[in-house]
C-alpha cells in the first residue's frame, strides 16, 4: 500500500494506482453501463408551485426530488438513494396546504400542487424534530447523505436547542433497553431528558453497534432485509421510545443470522454501526479523517467486480465502503470484500515492507 497517491489526488476510472496489484480502479475497457429495461412509459410532467415559483417536473417523482431539481435544500435523515423511503424521521416535511405536513422524501408530486419548503410551519417542525433527536440520541456523527452529511449545519440553521428539554439522562445499563417490555416504562420525574444512551455492543471483531447513536431510521433493517441482503438478521423490536434495532432475543451477531456483509454499516447515517477498526481508533482519539486517503478499487476476490472504497490511515485499511452509485454493488458487498483485508497488512518476515 505504499503506492497510494497523495491525499487529494483525484483518480479517474482506469487509473492505475501503483505497483500493488491489488489496488486499481475500475477499467475503462469494461462498459460501466448495465443494460436497463426499456422505458415503460412516456415521461409525463405536472405543473406545480414550489415556494411560490411555478415549475414543471416529471409526474412520478417525490416532492423531495422535485425540490432538489430546483436547487432547494431540504434536510433528510432517513432517506437514502438505494433504499425504500420509510418516511420516519420527519426532517424533510414540507407544507402542501394539508391538515398536516407531508414527508417530501416519500410523498409524490401532483398536478397543481402547492409546496412550501421553508415557511414557519415547516421550520418549526424541523426544528423540533432536530431538538427531539439531539436530546435523545448522540448525533455527533450523524448526517444525511445529501448534500454534505452534516446535521450540525441544520441544527444551526433551524436554531435547534436540544437543552430546552432538560439535561441529558445518564446512560442505561447494558441490556436494559433491550429488556424493556412493550407498554411499560418507569415514571419519569422530568428532571432529566431521557436518552437512548447505553454502552456499545461490541460482540465481534468486525463491527460495533453503538445504539446510543441510533436515530431508528430503519436503513440497516432495510439493507439487511428485502431491500438488499435478504438475510433478515436484525429487526426493529419493542415499541415507542423502547423501539430498537435487535437480533432475536438480543443474541450476539455471531449467533444470529448475520453474515457480516457490513451492508448495514454502509447505509447507517449516524455512526451507530461502525467498523471495529474505526471504533477502536476513535476510542483512543486516533481517528484522523483528514489524514486518510480513500482509494477506489475493485474487490480482488471473485468475478463479480464490486467497487470498493478503501479508507486508509497510517498505511492501514481502516474501513471499506462501496459507493451507493456503483453500478455493480449499489453500495453492497459481501464479507470478503468488506472485511477480508487483513492479509494486505501481513508482510513477509524480514522484508523491508514489514509492518
Amino acid at each position: 500500500m505504499t503506492s497510494q497517491p497523495p491525499a487529494g489526488v483525484h483518480l479517474e476510472p482506469g487509473d492505475y494506482t501503483g505497483s500493488d496489484p491489488l489496488v486499481f480502479t475500475s477499467s475503462p475497457a469494461r462498459s460501466p453501463q448495465v443494460p436497463s429495461a426499456p422505458q415503460a412509459r412516456a415521461p409525463k410532467t405536472v405543473e406545480m408551485t414550489i415556494d411560490g415559483a411555478p415549475v414543471t417536473v416529471p409526474d412520478n417523482v417525490t416532492i423531495l426530488a422535485a425540490c432538489r431539481s430546483q436547487g432547494i435544500d431540504i434536510p433528510t435523515l432517513c432517506t437514502l438513494s438505494t433504499l425504500t423511503p420509510e418516511g420516519v424521521c420527519r426532517m424533510c416535511v414540507v407544507d402542501t396546504g394539508g391538515r398536516v405536513l407531508a414527508p417530501s422524501c416519500s410523498a409524490r408530486v401532483g398536478q397543481g400542487m402547492t409546496v412550501w419548503t421553508d415557511n414557519d410551519r415547516v421550520r418549526h417542525s424541523r426544528k423540533l424534530v432536530l431538538e427531539l433527536l439531539a436530546s435523545s440520541v448522540d448525533v455527533d456523527l450523524a448526517g444525511p447523505e445529501l448534500p454534505d452529511g452534516s446535521i450540525a449545519r441544520y441544527m444551526a440553521e433551524y436554531g435547534a436547542d436540544p437543552s430546552r428539554f432538560g439535561p441529558p439522562s445518564p446512560p442505561a445499563p447494558a441490556g436494559a433497553r433491550d429488556a424493556a417490555e412493550a407498554g411499560h416504562h418507569e415514571q419519569p420525574d422530568g428532571s432529566v431528558a431521557e436518552r437512548v444512551a447505553q454502552p456499545a455492543k461490541v460482540d465481534n471483531d468486525l463491527f460495533v453497534r453503538d445504539y446510543a447513536k441510533c436515530i431508528l431510521c430503519y436503513k440497516c433493517v432495510e439493507a439487511c432485509g428485502a431491500d438488499a441482503q435478504n438475510t433478515f438478521a436484525i429487526s426493529v423490536a419493542g415499541r415507542g421510545f423502547s423501539a430498537r434495532v435487535s437480533t432475536e432475543f438480543d443474541v450476539g451477531l455471531a449467533e444470529s443470522a448475520c453474515v457480516f456483509c457490513g451492508n448495514c454499516i454502509n447505509v447507517c447515517p449516524t455512526g451507530a454501526l461502525m467498523f471495529r477498526s474505526e471504533y477502536e481508533l476513535r476510542r483512543v482519539g486516533e481517528w484522523r479523517e483528514d489524514d486518510q486517503t480513500v482509494t477506489r478499487t475493485i474487490c480482488p476476490y471473485c468475478g463479480v467486480g464490486c467497487t470498493l472504497e478503501l479508507h486508509v490511515q497510517d498505511n492501514r485499511i481502516v474501513k471499506v465502503l462501496s459507493p451507493l452509485d456503483a453500478q455493480v454493488t449499489s453500495g453492497n458487498l459481501c464479507v470478503k470484500g468488506r472485511f477480508g483485508f487483513d492479509f494486505v497488512h501481513v508482510r513477509p518476515k524480514g522484508s523491508d515492507r514489514e509492518a
Binding site: 420527519r90 423540533l128 422530568g190 415507542g240 444470529s256
Partner: protein, 639 residues
C-alpha cells in the same frame, strides 16, 4: 431468503401449541426447506420454499398467541420452531412479539393479571389495588422467585362501567382469559390462586354468562347498558332481550331480514342507500361510509376484503364491546351486507385481545351462521361466497389505526403505513379493503331495512342517526347509552344518573385520550360532529368520562401522557420522542419544578404539540397532545 435458525430445543408444550394451530392450516411439514420429496430425475430435493412457504406469514400473530396462551411466554425455542414452520426469520418474529403488551418474550409465571390503572379505574381506586399487589407480588412485571403469580399495569381494558377492572390470563391447555370488575386486591389474589390451582371459579366470574333472556340477565346487563330492554333503541334494541348465542333467537327478532333485502335490491342500491343515509364512521374519524364503499366497489383488484375494526382501545370506550358480546349476529350480518355491496370475499374481525368474552361470542356467531349457509360458499343461494375470520389483537392501541391493523393481520409489526394509497385501493394483503368500526357496521342493517330516509330522520343534518356513548367516571350509572345525535352533553350525563349526590362536574373528557376536555360551562354542547368541530373538541368514538370536583386533574393528564408514550409505535420522531418529552414536562409541572417559569413550560408544551400534530405520521402522534393541552387549559390547574 436464507433462514438461519438457531438450534434451540422447543419444549413439548410449545411444539404442541404451535403444531395444533398450524398443522390443520398449512400441513405438517417442518418448514419451507423441509418435507419436499426426493426427485430422482432431478436428483435433488424440491423445497417448498419461496412464495408458498412465505404465504402464511399472516398466521404469525395467531401462532404467537397459541404459544403465549399455552406456556405463558414465548421462548427462543418456540421462536425457532415457529421460524421453521412459517419460514419467517427469527429476528422478525422477535420484532413482532416484542411489540405487543400481551405477549412476553421473557419467562413469566403462568398466572398473570393485568390491572387497569386508566382514567375510570383510577377514580375507583386502582392505585390502591396496585400498591397492595406490589406488597404481595412485588413490583409490576417482576415476578418474585418461585412465585406462580404475576401482575402488570394495563391501560383501559374497555370495562370502565365496572371499574376497577382487570384481565386475568392463565396459561395452560386450555388457557383461561377473563376480563372482569369491579375488583379489589384480595379478590384479584384469590382469583389468581384459582387460576394457579385450576379451580373453575375464575372462568365463572365474568358476569352474565347465562345467555337466555331471563329477567335476572336483563338486570345484570343493565349494569353494562342501562337502557337495555327499553323501547325506541336501534343499536341496542336486542340487548338483554335476545340470546346472543342463538341464531334462532336472532332470526326470530328481525335478524337477516336486511341481508335478504340487500340481496333483492342489489349492490348498487345498497351503496346508494348507505350513501343517502349519510352515515359517518364511528371509529373516530367520521368518514362517510357510503363514499368508502363506493370506492372499494369501483376498485378493480381482487379479492377484496371487509375488515371490522373491533380493536376498541381508546381509553374510556367500551361501546363496541356491547355489540360484540350481546348482539354478535348483527355484526356477522352487517359484514355480509358490506361484502355483498362491495364485492368482497374475505372478512376479518380484528378483535381486541382484552375482550375474551366478545371473542367467544363472535366465534360462536360465525360458526352458527356458517352451519346455516349464511356464511361460506354460495350465501343464501345467491352464488356469492363470503367467509369471516377473527384475528385477536395483542395489546397495542396503535393496531386500531387502520393501516397498522392491516400490518398486524399480515404478521408484521403494526406500524401505520403512509397514506396514500388508501385502504379502498391498497389495503389488507395489498387488496382493496373496506375497514369499518363495529358500531358503523351495526348501523347498516337498519339502513338497509328501514331505508335511508327513515334512518336519517334521527339525528341532525350533519350527524345522522344515533350514537353509542360510553359513560364512565363519576356518574351514578356508568354504561353504554344510545342517544340521537344532537343530544346535549348535560342530558347524556343526566341519563347516566348525573354525578354523585352532593358533587359537581369539574371536567369532562370526550373522546378518550385522543379527545379533549370540556369544563362545566360547556355541558350544553350538542353532541354532533359539526358542533364538536365548531367548538374545537372531538366526539371521537364516543367516550365520555366525567370527573367531579374531588379529581386530581393533573394526575389524570399524567396518565394520558404516559398512555401515549407507551402506545406510540415508535416509527416517527415527533411521536416517539415527543410523547416522552411531554410526559417529562408534565412531571415537572406536577412536582412544581418547572424549567424556568410555568409559562415557559406551557409555551414549550405548545411548541411540542404543534410539531407532533403537524409532523407525526398517524393520528396517534397527531392527537397525543390534544387532551393534555386542553385539560391544562380547561382545568386552569396551573394558573
Amino acid at each position: 431468503m436464507d433462514l438461519r435458525i438457531a438450534d434451540i430445543a422447543v419444549s413439548p408444550a410449545e411444539r404442541e401449541a404451535v403444531d395444533a394451530f398450524l398443522s390443520p392450516r398449512i400441513g405438517t411439514a417442518r418448514g419451507g426447506w423441509d418435507g419436499g420429496e426426493r426427485n430422482i430425475e432431478l436428483d435433488g430435493r424440491t423445497a417448498r420454499g419461496g412464495h408458498e412457504a412465505r404465504s402464511h406469514r399472516d398466521l404469525l400473530l395467531p401462532t404467537l398467541h397459541a404459544v403465549q396462551d399455552r406456556v405463558g411466554w414465548i421462548s427462543p425455542g418456540a421462536v425457532a420452531h415457529i421460524a421453521r414452520r412459517l419460514t419467517v426469520p427469527p429476528a422478525e418474529i422477535f420484532g413482532v412479539a416484542t411489540f405487543y403488551a400481551l405477549l412476553s418474550t421473557t419467562e413469566r409465571p403462568s398466572a398473570a393479571v393485568h390491572v387497569c390503572d386508566d382514567m375510570a379505574c383510577r377514580l375507583a381506586g386502582a392505585e390502591d389495588i396496585c400498591q397492595q399487589l406490589e406488597v404481595t407480588l412485588g413490583p409490576a412485571g417482576h415476578a418474585q422467585p418461585g412465585e406462580q403469580r404475576t401482575w402488570h399495569r394495563s391501560p383501559c381494558l374497555g370495562q370502565c362501567e365496572r371499574a376497577p377492572a382487570a384481565l386475568f390470563t392463565i396459561a395452560g391447555d386450555p388457557a383461561i382469559r377473563v376480563s372482569t370488575g369491579p375488583l379489589d386486591a384480595p379478590t384479584i389474589l384469590a382469583r389468581l390462586d384459582d387460576g394457579v390451582h385450576g379451580q373453575g371459579r375464575l372462568e365463572a366470574v365474568e358476569g352474565p354468562l347465562g345467555t337466555a333472556a331471563t329477567p335476572e340477565r336483563l338486570e345484570q346487563l343493565r349494569l353494562l347498558a342501562p337502557q337495555a330492554g327499553q323501547p325506541g333503541l336501534r343499536l341496542l334494541a336486542r340487548i338483554g332481550r335476545v340470546d346472543p348465542t342463538s341464531l334462532t333467537a336472532y332470526l326470530a327478532n328481525g335478524g337477516y331480514r336486511a341481508l335478504r333485502e340487500a340481496i333483492a335490491a342489489g349492490p348498487e342500491r345498497v351503496i346508494a342507500e348507505v350513501t343517502a343515509a349519510e352515515v359517518l364512521g364511528r371509529g373516530g374519524a367520521a368518514f362517510p361510509t357510503g363514499r368508502k364503499w363506493a370506492a372499494a366497489r369501483a376498485a378493480e383488484a381482487r379479492p377484496k376484503n371487509i375488515v371490522c375494526n373491533a380493536d376498541e382501545a381508546e381509553p374510556g370506550t367500551f361501546k363496541d364491546r356491547v355489540i360484540l358480546e350481546e348482539d354478535p349476529f348483527a355484526l356477522v350480518e352487517a359484514m355480509t351486507i358490506a361484502a355483498f355491496a362491495v364485492g368482497a370475499e374475505r372478512g376479518f374481525i380484528y378483535l381486541r385481545g382484552e375482550y375474551p368474552l366478545a371473542e367467544a361470542r363472535m366465534q360462536n356467531a360465525i360458526d352458527r351462521a356458517r352451519e346455516k349457509g349464511l356464511l361460506g360458499r354460495n350465501v343464501l343461494d345467491t352464488g356469492f361466497d363470503f367467509e369471516i375470520e377473527i384475528r385477536r389483537g395483542g395489546g397495542a392501541y396503535i393496531a386500531g389505526e387502520e393501516t397498522a391493523l392491516f400490518e398486524s393481520i399480515e404478521g408484521d409489526r403494526p406500524e401505520p403505513r403512509s397514506k396514500p394509497p388508501f385502504p379502498v385501493e391498497v389495503g389488507l394483503f395489498g387488496k382493496p379493503t373496506v375497514i369499518n368500526n363495529v358500531e358503523t357496521l351495526a348501523n347498516l342493517p337498519h339502513i338497509v331495512r328501514d331505508g335511508a330516509a327513515a334512518y336519517a330522520a334521527t339525528g341532525t343534518p350533519g350527524s345522522r342517526g344515533s350514537k353509542l356513548f360510553s359513560l364512565s367516571g363519576h356518574v351514578a350509572r356508568p354504561g353504554v347509552y344510545e342517544v340521537p345525535f344532537g343530544t346535549r352533553l348535560s342530558d347524556l350525563i343526566e341519563l347516566a344518573g348525573g354525578v354523585r349526590d352532593g358533587h359537581q362536574v369539574k371536567i369532562v373528557n370526550i373522546g378518550g385520550a385522543a379527545g379533549s376536555f370540556v369544563g362545566p360551562d360547556r355541558l350544553d354542547l350538542p353532541l354532533t360532529y359539526e358542533h364538536a368541530r365548531a367548538e374545537g373538541v372531538t366526539i371521537g368514538a364516543g367516550a365520555v368520562v366525567v370527573f367531579d370536583e374531588t379529581t386530581d386533574v393533573l394526575d389524570i393528564l399524567r396518565r394520558i401522557a404516559a398512555f401515549f408514550r407507551d402506545e406510540s409505535c415508535g416509527q416517527c420522531v415527533p411521536c416517539r420522542v415527543g410523547t416522552v418529552r411531554q410526559e417529562e414536562l408534565l412531571a415537572r409541572l406536577i412536582a412544581h419544578r418547572p424549567r424556568g417559569t410555568v409559562a415557559d413550560e406551557l409555551a414549550l408544551l405548545d411548541e411540542l404539540g404543534r410539531a407532533m400534530r403537524d409532523a407525526s405520521i398517524c393520528g396517534l402522534g397527531q392527537t397525543a397532545n390534544s387532551a393534555v393541552a386542553s385539560g391544562l387549559r380547561v382545568a386552569g390547574v396551573l394558573s
